[in-house]
């Protein structure tokens, strides 16, 4: 089997699994679970084989014409280089873990067949984006991922938050995709083809006549999909979906697609200095903003969501300084430990019966109830906080190293100012990351007060997956940073001394400060009871989570934060806490900027349609009616009027004709 047929099978198998799942979901429930897991597993194995075969040397290229369009044809093309191979393995790996985890998570949910099919469809779409060599086929995968995320976020469509979050997720990403499509058109018109290889070739010969505009258009799409600064507001709300969905889509794969896309087309961005600076500033603002916001969230999943936005900020930062190796390296390691964090959070929510950290901090030794989740989450949080020797440290250091490399003058790929912004923002975010990681760990596992409720052991499938994911979180960084360069384009990913010392130091400071604040506020927790627990704790994890999400807003008055004086975050952020919790009121800005004008336009159109257009049509109808009444009233029945009308007509006609004949 040649590598191309294997490569074609990788996205195809999950797609066929999804189609089969959808068709016979209700008729043959027995087949649904294997149909969900096996194709994704097979895809993972094949992806691994392809990664090994490709081994970082010559990119695998193959194409057949998908359709003529009249000007630039669209080809069904494959372009697998080192990045594609490895990211595909990551996607396959996380997708398989999530599918297995979901079998336990949604054990007795009637809508599991459609859920599993949609996750499989999502996986095939992501793999299509990873492997595709044609920009339009990439866009197809890109948008199918968007719609799968819409359906999956809307899984608990009974809860109002899920209904609102699903439509918001799709519309914000679609808002980004509109300029993205225009950017693709511009690229294709300048390069003469949608093929990535041709586009990159055209860029090298300076074929793009205004790269900044194209880069900015593409950037809008990436910002939407990878939840970067201006268009990130949908990701925290998307936590209203089931946790495995968040783990797969909103941690490892879809949000990483934007970063992967820039990595694939980095020369296009490097062609314009302004674009790189914009990218850098965007990454910086995203990192710092999300770090602050994560510190103020009460919902455990929203903390992780903001943390994801921050880590994506790191990856875009690495791209801003022109080192796509570091970006993809951080993408791989982040994909592993963030997925683990989400899945563990799912277990904790199921065990604690609530997703609110304030409530968990009032439960004693919750960690005894879920020992697996406790240990794996601790590993993942350490990796997130970039504490050596965990994998997070190596990947984050490679990013900071690249930034420092550009900042100290090697500005052939990116301007120096981009390097400095990324370096400073990176260090500040390292501090904030350590802070909210420590806060989450303390509130979740170091709670005091009543005994944590015991709902028996968690399903085996969920705990096994946690340990499977803990391995790469622990070891991937250490082992891979020497091996990966020959998959990527050869730049050294080893952590440089200065940035590693600085980074680790800053992280330790963040952790210790948060621990101190927590020691101070923990005493207050005893006499300010707070927290609401789900109604059916004995149900499966999905039901518990749905109720937890639904009960958070009524119980705490706000879906994001909770009025908990014992929260160290409140102490650390001080006055900033209220704004940070609400995501710096960006939602209000968007409502004012986009939603309200469109609704005003809608009412204007309704008025226009009913009053203006209708009146013209009704007026056109009324004119003959009025003429008709006039004509019938002229028909008086009196002979004299008839004859006088006849003669008057004659006179008028004669005079007119004589005048016309003489005059004209």
């Amino acid at each position: 089997m040649t590598t191309t047929t294997l490569a074609v099978l990788v996205p195809l198998l999950p797609f066929l699994g999804a189609a089969a799942g959808l068709l016979l979901g209700r008729t043959a429930p027995g087949f649904v679970r294997p149909l969900a897991v096996l194709p994704t597993l097979a895809a993972l194995v094949l992806a691994a084989v392809i990664a090994v075969r490709q081994g970082g040397d010559q990119a695998v290229d193959a194409a057949t014409e998908l359709t003529p369009t009249g000007s630039v044809p669209i080809e069904l093309a494959l372009h697998i280089d080192g990045f594609a191979a490895l990211v595909a393995v990551l996607v396959g790996f996380v997708a398989t873990c999530v599918q297995i985890y979901s079998t336990g998570y949604l054990r007795d949910d009637p809508r599991y067949p459609s859920y599993a099919a949609l996750v499989a469809l999502f996986t095939s779409a992501m793999l299509l984006v990873v492997y595709s060599g044609d920009l339009i086929v990439l866009l197809v995968g890109w948008e199918i991922m968007g719609i799968c995320s819409y359906f999956l976020v809307g899984h608990y469509w009974e809860t109002p938050e899920a209904r609102a979050a699903s439509i918001k997720a799709f519309l914000v990403t679609k808002l980004g995709d509109v300029p993205f499509l225009i950017g693709l058109f511009a690229l294709a018109t300048d390069a003469g083809s949608f093929r990535i290889t041709t586009v990159l070739g055209a860029v090298t010969h300076g074929g793009l006549d205004h790269p900044t505009l194209i880069a900015l258009l593409l950037l809008a799409g990436v910002a939407g999909k990878s939840a970067q600064f201006p268009l990130h507001t949908w990701l925290p709300d998307a936590m209203a979906g089931p946790t495995p969905v968040s783990a797969l889509i909103h941690a490892a794969t879809m949000v990483a697609a934007g970063v992967y896309f820039i990595a694939r087309l980095l020369p296009v961005f490097e062609a314009s200095q302004a674009a790189m600076i914009v990218l850098a500033v965007m990454a910086a603002v995203t990192m710092v903003g999300s770090g602050l916001a994560a510190l103020a969230q009460d919902d455990i999943k929203r903390v992780l969501a903001y943390s994801t936005i921050g880590q994506l900020g790191y990856m875009t930062g690495a791209l801003a300084v022109g080192d796509r190796g570091a970006a993809v390296f951080h993408l791989l390691s982040h994909g592993a430990f963030k997925a683990l964090l989400f899945l563990a959070a799912g277990v904790i929510i199921h065990a604690a019966g609530t997703n609110s950290l304030a409530a968990m901090s009032r439960m004693r030794d919750l960690r005894a109830r879920v020992p697996d989740a406790y240990w794996t989450m601790t590993v993942a949080l350490l990796a997130l906080a970039a504490i050596p020797p965990f994998s997070g440290f190596f990947s984050k250091e490679s990013v900071l190293g690249a930034a420092e490399h550009v900042a100290t003058g090697h500005t052939e790929h990116a301007p120096g100012v981009a390097g400095w912004t990324i370096l400073v923002a990176g260090l500040l975010t390292a501090l904030l990351t350590a802070a909210y990681a420590m806060r989450l760990w303390l509130l979740a596992f170091r709670g005091r007060g009543t005994e944590a409720p015991d709902h028996g052991r968690q399903p085996l499938t969920m705990t096994v997956v946690l340990w499977v994911l803990a391995v790469p979180s622990l070891a991937l960084g250490g082992l891979a940073y020497r091996v990966l360069p020959d998959w990527f384009d050869g730049r050294d990913l080893a952590p440089t001394l200065t940035t590693s010392v600085l980074g680790t130091g800053v992280a330790l400071v963040g952790g210790i400060v948060t621990y101190g604040a927590w020691r101070y506020t923990a005493s207050v927790a005893a006499h300010s009871p707070i927290g609401a627990v789900a109604a059916h704790p004995e149900g499966d994890a999905a039901r518990v989570e749905a109720e937890a999400i639904a009960s958070h807003a009524p119980a705490y008055g706000d879906v994001a934060s909770a009025p908990d004086p014992a929260d160290p975050g409140r102490l650390l952020l001080g006055p900033l806490h209220r704004h940070a919790a609400g995501g710096f009121h960006l939602d209000a800005v968007y409502t004012a900027l986009f939603v309200r004008p469109v609704q005003a336009g809608a009412t204007l159109v309704r008025f226009l349609d009913r009053e203006v257009v209708e009146t013209y049509v009704r007026g056109a109808g009324a004119l003959p009616r009025w003429l008709g009444i006039a004509v019938r009233r002229a028909q008086t029945g009196n002979l004299q009027t008839y004859v006088s009308a006849l003669l008057a007509g004659t006179v008028v006609l004669a005079v007119a004709v004589v005048l016309v004949a003489t005059g004209a």
Binding site: R632, Q635, T636, G637, N638, V643, S644, L647
Partner: protein
């Protein structure tokens, strides 16, 4: 005699006839004024014929031929006109043109008798049908 005299006379005659048609109430007087108009045309035709035949060398006097025809037509018209006026008078008791408003357009309600008339005719056709 210059052509203008008969032409002017005939136009005057025509206008008086016209006035008669428009102003008079009684149908018979309207008929008379129509005759006046036709005679005005005859006068005109004859006058032009004489004027033309003086100029042209040989002529067909078609003007006078047409006058003859017009007189015949006027006679026929009067015959039928009087018959119709008689019928109107018999049906309605008056020959006043202003009263004739039955078939007007704006005439909303139909006269009771016309319904009676139509109803009675309906059953007769019904009978006729039955017999056929």
């Amino acid at each position: 005699m210059h052509l203008a005299y008969p032409a002017v006379l005939s136009t005057l005659l025509f206008c008086t006839g016209l006035y008669g048609v428009l102003a008079r109430r009684n149908a018979i007087l309207v008929l008379m004024s129509v005759e006046v108009m036709l005679n005005a045309v005859n006068l005109n035709l004859v006058a032009f014929d004489v004027w033309l035949s003086k100029a042209a060398e040989e002529t067909l006097h078609s003007g006078q031929a047409l006058t003859l025809f017009t007189i015949a037509i006027a006679a026929a018209e009067i015959g039928i006109g009087l018959a119709i006026v008689l019928a109107v008078h018999r049906n309605r008791g008056t020959a006043d043109i202003d009263k004739l408003r039955d078939t007007a357009e704006g005439h909303e309600t139909d006269g009771p008798d016309s319904d009676a008339r139509t109803a009675e005719q309906a059953d007769r056709t019904g009978k006729a049908e039955a017999t056929a």
